[in-house]
């Protein structure tokens, strides 16, 4: 018997096993890659005019070009509707990745309840030094950690004036005090034109504007330690002024929201308005006939001793803590400040959302806009005012952040104060007492 000589196998067993393992790994790899390719980031914002949507699409396109495995989907919400939508999202765990343009006090409330991811990484990615000094202070609810950042500033309660009507009425300077404003409204009202477009509705605009009026009287809603301070002589003065202004506002101002108030001025129905710089775009598009006859200024105060108080809702960027794909989410949040897309976003409503990055404000590309150039004085005034602005979540630099400000605005308690005293003519002392009790109840949680 001839035994066959032992032959070493052409492919050793170890090689075969290694090959099988490699094949298995290779087979698994496309699935991992495939999973990466399917990343979808959801972006919510209540700001969604056609021009803004176009700017968002640019930002999304640019980001997707840099990250081929990421798809970004924009979803609209609204100023009045974001609270329930986000509540449902948080409760269900089906949250968006990035939420922009909500007021800062909403951010601080969500942060305090553990619903947001820290934003320090994103701010570092954008570059701390690019922001205006102190721009992120309002988001430092807990020392050393930021709950979000601003995507822009807004000067929501500047007064808009029709210079042609002022001239016709013999008014040679912008009103600085309430008395001057009342006098100006009286002189300009008539011939189908009302003096002002202040809101008296049961909505957030009335609450937010009237908070500003309280400050313009020298008062405040909360003391710096967040004890309720609304029941004060200053609030009574504010109510008296607001009541006096009622006769210069259209009848339907009792139901005005932001859009109604804006339209009333832009349409030429009111000699003065109160809004952000969105007025500039809307006038240019909808009523260019008055485009050469509008200007803005800080809203008058009770007396010259009282400094103007600008309401800035600090349109924000925040990331829900439950958001999936956190790393990509943070990259996208930071990418929103990339100059090309950010400037287009700011140009979508020039003067409405003002840059929060000093580097952008100084960028010639940002200044290269017909509306910003035409109204450079107004835009500069709004930028300065907004940079020194406050809101109910942060009434002054002495105040602690108020994480319940969102609930107070959403409850309508301040709008109801206005309506009860001015429209229903109820007893001021009683209404202020009840308002204080309600706010204290909300603060108690």
């Amino acid at each position: 018997m001839t035994s066959k000589p032992f032959k070493t196998p052409a492919i050793p067993r170890r090689t075969v096993l290694a090959g099988l393992a490699a094949a298995g790994a290779t087979a698994a790899m496309p699935m991992r890659l495939s999973a990466q390719e399917q990343i979808t980031l959801r972006w919510w914002s209540p700001q969604s005019s056609p021009e803004q949507l176009a700017a968002y699409q640019t930002q999304i396109r640019n980001f997707e070009a840099l990250h081929e495995n990421v798809k970004v989907v924009f979803e609209k919400t609204s100023d009045e509707g974001y609270a329930p939508q986000l509540a449902a999202a948080f409760a269900s765990g089906d949250v968006p990745n990035v939420v922009t343009h909500l007021p800062s006090f909403a951010v601080s409330n969500y942060w305090r309840n553990g619903l947001l991811a820290p934003f320090n990484d994103v701010i570092d990615m954008i570059g701390q030094d690019k922001f205006y000094p102190g721009a992120n202070d309002i988001y430092e609810v807990d020392a050393g950690t930021y709950a979000g950042t601003s995507i822009g500033n807004s000067a929501a309660n500047v007064i808009w004036l029709r210079t042609d009507l002022m001239e016709k009425a013999g008014i040679d300077k912008n009103p600085r005090t309430w008395d001057e404003l009342l006098d100006a409204c009286q002189k300009m009202q008539g011939g189908g034109i009302y003096g002002a477009a202040l809101p008296y509705g049961r909505n957030s605009m009335t609450s937010l504007i009237f908070i500003g009026v309280i400050h313009q009287a020298g008062g405040q809603v909360f003391a710096p330690d967040l004890s309720v301070a609304i029941d004060s002589p200053e609030t009574r003065d504010a109510l008296e002024f607001y009541r006096a202004m009622r006769e210069f506002c259209p009848p339907g101002a009792t139901n005005y929201t932001w859009g109604d108030s804006l339209t009333a001025f832009v349409a030429g129905a009111c000699a003065t308005g109160i809004y952000t710089g969105r007025v500039l775009t809307n006038v240019a598009e909808q009523n260019p006939g008055i485009a050469d006859h509008i200007t803005c200024d800080l809203y008058p105060t009770k007396s010259v001793d009282i400094e103007p108080w600008t309401f800035n809702d600090f349109p924000s960027v925040m990331i829900p803590a439950q958001a999936p794909n956190m790393e990509a989410t943070k990259q996208f949040a930071a990418f929103l400040f990339d100059p090309e897309g950010y400037i287009q976003q700011l140009h979508a409503a020039p003067g409405h959302v003002l840059p929060v990055l000093k580097s952008i404000n100084d960028d010639p590309a940002y200044q290269d806009n017909p509306i910003i150039q035409k109204y450079s004085a107004e835009v500069e005034l709004m930028s300065q005012a907004a940079a020194n602005g406050f809101n109910l979540g942060w009434e002054s630099r002495d105040h602690q952040p108020n994480t319940m400000a969102g609930e107070i605005v959403n409850s309508g308690v301040i709008a109801e104060l206005v309506q009860r005293v001015i429209l229903n003519d109820e007893n001021v002392d009683q209404v202020l007492g009840e308002t204080t009790a309600r706010i204290e109840d909300i603060m108690a949680g």
């Binding site: 049961r202 339907g252 009792t254 129905a269 959403n410 009860r420």
Partner: protein, 299 residues
């Protein structure tokens, strides 16, 4: 004989099992969409809960104590009843009137029957936007028209002051929902035997008498169902009122649905909102029982 006696209970048991099996899907769906939310609402109502996290503490009957002792619930209940009664009455009056008209042999009857359904099919958001534009003080067609006719000197504040705001929402509600009444009543009118009217004519009954003595008795059953359904739907109406007035001025048009919404999402107090919801459900239950008993006695 004995085999039959043995088989019959077995067969009955088999039928019983089949019955249970057949009804099980219905019970399952009913439990998921009715029983579970109901029990969840009752459960939530004894907690103090922050809406976005649904986390909170057990507070027992505190939310119900606030419901009973505070004025918010009772104020909103009153508003809800005024709204429901007002809009339902107009829906029935307009609906029956329009159905009677469309039952006549008029020109373009088919087209008119189609067009009358338009408000009912229109999205509430769109309808409200149109009406807000009509009511607008500065450029609204309503004020403009009335001022052109010399009826008004100055624009009227339709939605921002009382009682105009309540009248406004009631009118818009009636316009939006009266086609439902038209559809149901028109269908019933077409089945009333003609000989009843002939007999009434022979007896000398005029049009009014024929309406009250022939038409209305024939419509009674369908109207009962319509009133019951529309009362339930109107009682819990939310979007139309929220979009038109937001519950204002102050709380003059804040119905129970709006109160629940504000408590749950404005103030993030889901527990208190659930207590209000349970209260709202109990009120509806009381009215439904009373109504069913009354209509049962009448029939």
């Amino acid at each position: 004989m004995s085999a039959t006696a043995t088989n019959t209970p077995r067969l009955e048991r088999a039928y019983a099992r089949l019955g249970v099996l057949l009804i099980a899907p219905t019970i399952l769906v009913f439990s998921l969409v009715i029983v579970y939310p109901l029990l969840a609402a009752i459960y939530l109502s004894v907690f103090s809960i922050y809406t976005p996290t649904l986390q909170g503490n057990f507070v027992g009957a505190d939310n119900y104590v606030k419901l009973l002792t505070g004025h918010e619930f009772w104020n909103s209940l009153g508003v809800t009843l005024v709204w429901t009664f007002g809009t339902l009455t107009l829906q029935i009056v307009f609906g029956v009137g329009m159905a009677l008209l469309l039952h006549q042999n008029i020109w373009f009857r088919s087209l008119a029957r189609s067009l009358v359904l338009f408000p009912y099919f229109l999205s509430t958001v769109v309808a409200v936007l149109v009406w807000r534009w009509l009511f607008n003080d500065l450029y609204g067609a309503m004020n403009h028209g009335l001022m052109q006719l010399g009826i008004l000197d100055m624009p009227l504040d339709w939605l921002g002051s009382m009682p105009n705001a309540m009248i406004g929402v009631i009118l818009v509600g009636a316009w939006k929902y009266f086609p439902f009444v038209v559809i149901a009543v028109l269908a019933r009118l077409q089945t009333i035997p003609e000989h009843l009217y002939e007999a009434a004519r022979i007896d000398g009954a005029g049009p009014v008498a024929r309406f009250w003595d022939v038409t209305m008795p024939q419509l009674r059953n369908v109207l009962t169902v319509i009133i019951l359904l529309r009362a339930i739907w109107d009682f819990k109406e939310f979007d139309l009122i929220y979009l038109l007035t937001g519950g204002g001025p102050v709380t003059s048009t804040q119905t129970l649905s709006l109160l629940v919404y504000q408590e749950a999402f404005g103030l993030n107090r889901m527990g208190q909102a659930a207590a209000y919801s349970v209260g709202m459900m109990l009120v509806m239950l009381v009215f439904m029982v009373l109504y069913i008993r009354r209509t049962g006695k009448e029939s």
